[in-house]
Amino acid sequence: MTQDELSSRIALVVARVAKVKDPSAIATDKDLYREIGVKSTAALDLLLSLEEEFNVTIPDQAFGDARTVGSLADLIEGLR
């Protein structure tokens, strides 16, 4: 899977959690919580959804540091 494909799949998950209608509108370098609209109280939903989607275990601290689709893609790529 290319980095772009990975980012697209992450954007789909983010769009569901943030209730964004158009996943393609989610820029990979925008802050998920401040700019995309993921509520901070939905962080666990996002984390568990990403773990299920990509069948990985994401360390909490690394997840907390990854605040964009792009950085989540780097993180997940490194765990696969």
Binding site: S40, T41, A42, A43, L44, D45, L47, L48, D60, G64
Partner: protein, 399 residues
């Protein structure tokens, strides 16, 4: 009657404590919930004559809601304080001794009256915190009602996060016929009788569960001067804690003094830190054993996992936990007597607060649970002033 629920896997201490704490809310017939020592089973004690077939699924669902999505986040200890001037033993049976001396009165479930040195200590602690907030931080003092409109509490998210703790304030309907029925039914009765439950109107108010909610409501739609403003208030609060209400440890109704921070995000974060450090300096002044560590609020089961993860990961809540007398089996025990909190932009958005420089408004607070801290002082320094810090002894025991 008792039964056991097996967990899919062992749970950690924090989650076990939360399940035990909220166990009495699982069903009216549940008396106590205990997680086994190996953390793989939940033992449920119920009232005699319960139907296990009916009760078990209800308790299983309660436990499942707690456990299924929970993800523990490693806690962080910010500071550990030891007593430096008083090496005396921790007291035991402290509340009972206060009652025996006539310094405390158990008046109802979670309702305790105070007199003498216990009353003076509560006042001294509150006033010292107030002096810190106003003197060191320039906080503006407000005074608020004990009640808060139910809808304001709803807007604060309280019914979603803590429905089990809500204390509603109601009254009888303005209906002469129904009022007379109540009057007649109670005229000769030795207990309260309400012949028609419809005579109780929906609660338009609650007893506030925290002092700071009033601050946000009082600022609704207003502009806060950048970088931020600080308020302080002390008030009576209520949190219903079911069968957990014991002595001064867990009161239904209690006093909370808060310093409330409203302003730009980075300023609120900085002030929360400074406020927590100033609170810690007071703890040192009072010579108390205390641990300051990350913590979570007692969120209701269905939202426990998501909310605690959010709070823990963001370091949004620190508690000041004080050593008190050991629990069953001599286990060391601490109680939370204070906290330092960040709420991100939630209250700023909910109450349409604006900053004079156009930045989003964030909020935070530093809170003191006054009666609990008084219990910690009596436990750690005894009921005799000889071991107390002189200034506190003077304020509490001087004739």
């Amino acid at each position: 009657m008792a039964f056991t629920i097996k967990l899919a896997k062992a749970i950690g201490d924090e989650l076990a404590a939360a399940v035990e704490d909220q166990g009495p809310y699982a069903a009216p017939e549940v008396v106590r919930v205990r997680v086994s020592d190996d953390r793989t089973e939940v033992e449920v004690d119920c009232e005699a004559g319960c139907d296990e077939e009916v009760l078990r699924p209800q308790v299983e669902r309660f436990v499942d809601d707690f456990v299924k999505r929970f993800r523990a986040v490693a806690g962080k200890v910010y500071k550990q304080l030891a007593r430096t001037r008083d090496s005396g033993q921790m007291g035991s049976g402290v509340f009972e001794q206060l009652v025996e001396r006539g310094w405390a009165f158990q008046l109802g479930d979670g309702q305790v009256g105070l007199a003498g040195p216990a009353m003076k200590l509560v006042e001294a602690l509150d006033q010292r915190f107030r002096r810190m907030a106003m003197g060191e931080f320039g906080a503006v003092e407000h005074r608020y009602p004990t009640f808060i409109p139910t809808d304001v509490l709803r807007r604060c998210g309280y019914f979603g996060a803590f429905p089990h703790l809500v204390s509603l304030v109601s009254h009888f309907v303005e209906d002469y016929r129904k009022l007379k029925e109540i009057r007649d039914a109670n005229a000769e009765s030795d207990r309260v009788v309400i012949p028609d439950r419809d005579a109780i109107v929906d609660a338009a108010a609650c007893v506030t569960p925290a002092t700071c909610y009033h601050v946000y409501q009082s600022l609704e739609g207003r502009t806060v001067k950048a970088p931020g403003q600080i308020f302080t208030a002390s008030g009576r609060c209520a949190r219903y804690e079911s069968t957990n209400m014991i002595g001064l440890d867990r009161l239904w109704e209690f006093t909370m003094r808060e310093m409330v921070l409203v302003g730009r995000e980075e300023w609120v974060t900085e002030m929360r830190q400074k406020g927590m450090d100033a609170f810690i300096a007071l703890v040192e002044e009072w010579d108390l054993e205390c641990t300051v560590e990350t913590a979570n609020d007692p969120f209701f089961a269905p939202v426990y996992a998501t909310k605690t993860f959010w709070q823990s990961q963001g370091g949004l809540k620190y508690e000041l936990r004080f050593a008190v007398e050991p629990g069953p089996g001599g286990r060391p025990r601490t109680i939370s007597c204070g906290s330092a909190n960040l709420h991100e932009g939630f209250f700023g958005q909910t109450f349409r607060l604006a900053s004079s420089d156009g930045a989003p408004v964030f909020t935070g607070c530093v809170a003191l649970g006054v009666e609990r801290l008084a219990l910690a002082v009596f436990t750690q320094h005894g009921l005799d002033p000889s071991r107390w810090p002189p200034a506190l002894a003077e304020a509490v025991f001087a004739p």
